[in-house]
Amino acid sequence: MSARALVRTFAIYLWALSLLCAFIVARYSLHTPKNPLVITSVWQAGKITNRAIFSNETDSSPEIEAALAQPGATRVNEVVTGISPIEANVEALFAVSLVSARDGARITYAGKTTYVTPDELLTQRGYDHGVESSALGVTFGADVQLIIALAAERLGTRASEIAAHATFARIRVARKIVGIPERSRVTPEGLNADIVRTAVMDAAHYLARGVDENGRFRYLVNAVTNKNLAGYDWPRHSGATYFLAQAATMSKDPELVAATLRAASMLRDRETARCGPNACIGQDDVVDLGSAALAVVAYAQIAAGIDPSYKAQVEKLTPFLRAQQRDDGEFKHQFDKSTKRAIDIQFPYYSGEATLALARAYRVTNDPLDLKAAKNGLARIVGGAWSFFGNRYYFGEEHWTCQAMDDLWDAAPDPHALDFCMRWQEYMRHMQLRADESPHDGDGAFAFDPILTPRLTPAASRCEAGVASYDAAKKSHSASPAELAALDMQLRRALALIIRQQFSPGPAHLFADPEAVHGAIPGSEVDWEIRIDYAQHAGSAMIRWLDVLAPAASQSPTNQPQNVGP
C-alpha cells in the first residue's frame, strides 16, 4: 500500500470517527424537556404514599393533599431538567447510563409511562450495584433489574415484558423538598471551626446512640430502614471508641463520655485475652495486631482526657505490640494462641496502626521501649517496606503512618517520614477531583473515574494524615508557605465534601427514622449502609483539623459563617 493511499484512508477514517463521536455526544447528552414535568411524591417514614405528575411545582391533587395530611408526610418535587435516550439492549450500557443520585428513568410501555426517580433508587440501593467487576473488585452503574421491576409493578405487567418491549429514557431531576428551606452549601472557603465542631458532635452523638449497655456499637446500619446489618470488626470497634474518646475529651459531653467508657470497657473486660505471655485483644484462636493497636490508641486517648486509670490498660497491651515487632521494625500481623507464636504475615494498615499505637502509648507511659519501637516501625514503613523503583509514583494507604509521624515529631523527629508523608499528600492532591471533574458532588473527593460515586472514607482518612503532615511540616519549618497553603486547601475541600454529605439531617424524608441516623457519615453519596469507621475517620480528621488548622482559619479573611447541610 502506498503512503498516499494510507494517508487518504486515515483522513477518511478520522473524519468518519469524528462525526460518529459528535453524533454520540449529541444523542446521549441531556436535552431540556419539551414540556415542564414535575414528579411529585409524598414520602412518609421512608416510603412513597402517593405520587402524581404535574406541570408546575405548585400543582396538586386531592390524593396528594390527602397523603400530605398524614403525620410526618413530606412533599418532594423532582423537577425534570433533562432527558436523553438510553441504550437498553445491553444491560451494562443501561447501567452506566444513569448518573448516580442525579438520574432516574422514564419507562414507556403499551402507551403508558412511569418514572423511577433518583430518590427511589437511593432508598433501594439502586446505584453503584448494576454491574459487578470481579476483576477490579467493584460494582458500578444503576441496578437495571430493580428499575425494570419497579416499572413492571407500576405498569401492571411482568418484568420480562418491560425488559423486552418497553422504551427507556434517562431523566435528570432537581429535588425540591416542599416546606423545608434549602441549606447553604458548605464550601472549602467557608469552612470554619463552628461548622466543623457541629459536624464532629453530630457524628459522635450518632455513634454514641449506637453503643449498647454492653459497649457494643451498631456496627453496620441501613440508613433507610434503620435496621442493623450483620458483621462486626474489633479494630473498627477500637477506632470508633478512639473517636468517641476524642469527641468526649473535646466537649466533656456526659453522653459521649459514658458511651466511650462503655465501648472501652467491652474491649477491656470481654475482649482482652492472653497471647502467650502478653495481653492482646480478640477471642479467636488467631488474633490480629490491628485490634490491640487501635485499642491502645483508644485507651491512650481515654487515659489522657477522660479516665487516667486507662493508663494501666495501655501498659498491659504495649508488650504484645512490641513482641510482634521484627528486628527490622516490621510487625508480624497475627498471633496464634494455640501455638503461642506470632505469624509473620502482613496485611494493609496494621503496621501503621501499631506504630501509631506505640507513639500514642509513649505519650502516656513515657516508656522508652515504646518510643524506640514506634520510631523503628515508622522508619521501616517509610524506608525498607516501601523501597522499590517507582515508589515516587505509587503509594499505599498511609493514614495511620503519617499520624504516627506527627505524634513522634517532638520526641523523635523523622524528616524522611515527613518527606514521605508530604509527597503522599502531594500525590493525593493530584488525584483530588475538582467540582467540574465529576457529575457527582465530587469536589474534594479522591477518585479515578466519573462513573463510580466518590467514597467519603478515603477523603476522611487522607485528611487525618493530611492534618498530621501539615502540623509536622509547620513545626519543622521544612515546607514552603505555598506548599502549606495547597495542603490547607486540599484539606478544606475534602472536609467540606464530608460535611456536605453528612446526614445532618440529609434527605430525612427517605429515612424511616431520621433521628436515629442523624449525624452519620455515609459511605458515599449513594451508599447508605453506614459503618462505624466512616464516622470515626471523618470525626477524627475534623477534630485534628480543629486542633491544628482552625486557629489559623479563624483569622482568615475568607472565613464566612455558613449553615451546615447537604
Binding site: L6, Y13, V25, A26, Y28, L93, S134, D449, P450, I451
Partner: protein, 141 residues
C-alpha cells in the same frame, strides 16, 4: 517467494516484530485480561494467528510470506482502527452521560488506546509501507 526489493535484514526485522506482536497480543489478551469474552477472544485469536504465521513466513523467506504479511497487516490495521473507534465512541458515550470524564478517566482511556498503538497501528502501517504496492509478474528470486 519474497520480493527482490526486500533487504534480508528488514525481512528478518519485520518477521521478528510480527512474532513479537503476536506473542504480546496473546499474553495481553489471554493471560492479562481477567475474564473471557468471545468477541475479543476470537478477534484476538485471529490476529495472533495471522501475525505469527506471517512472521514465521518472513523469517523463513517462504514463497507465500509477502502475500500473507500484506493480508495480516491489513487485517491487523482494520482491527486496530476498529478498536480505536470503539474506545473513542465509548469516551463520547460517557461524555454524553457524565459530562467531564475527569483527568483520571481521560488518562485511563488514553492509556488503553496508547497500549495498542505499537501493535495494532504502528507495526501494520510501517509494514504496509515497507511492502509497498503489489507488483504483479515482477517477482523473481
Amino acid at each position: 517467494m519474497a520480493s527482490p526489493n526486500w533487504p534480508a535484514k528488514s525481512r528478518i526485522v519485520f518477521g521478528t516484530l510480527d512474532v513479537l506482536a503476536a506473542a504480546i497480543l496473546a499474553i495481553g489478551v489471554f493471560l492479562g485480561l481477567p475474564t473471557r469474552w468471545p468477541p475479543v477472544d476470537l478477534c484476538s485469536g485471529l490476529l495472533v494467528f495471522l501475525l505469527l504465521v506471517a512472521g514465521i513466513g518472513l523469517l523463513a523467506n517462504a514463497a507465500w510470506s509477502e502475500t500473507l504479511a500484506r493480508i495480516a497487516s491489513r487485517v491487523v490495521l482494520v482491527f486496530g482502527l476498529l478498536f480505536f473507534a470503539l474506545v473513542a465512541s465509548s469516551v463520547s458515550y460517557l461524555y454524553g452521560i457524565y459530562g467531564a470524564v475527569g483527568r483520571g478517566g481521560a488518562t485511563l482511556f488514553i492509556l488503553v488506546g496508547a497500549l495498542a498503538v505499537p501493535y495494532l497501528f504502528a507495526l501494520p502501517v510501517t509494514e504496509l509501507l515497507w511492502l509497498g504496492s503489489r507488483k504483479v509478474g515482477k517477482q523473481v528470486r
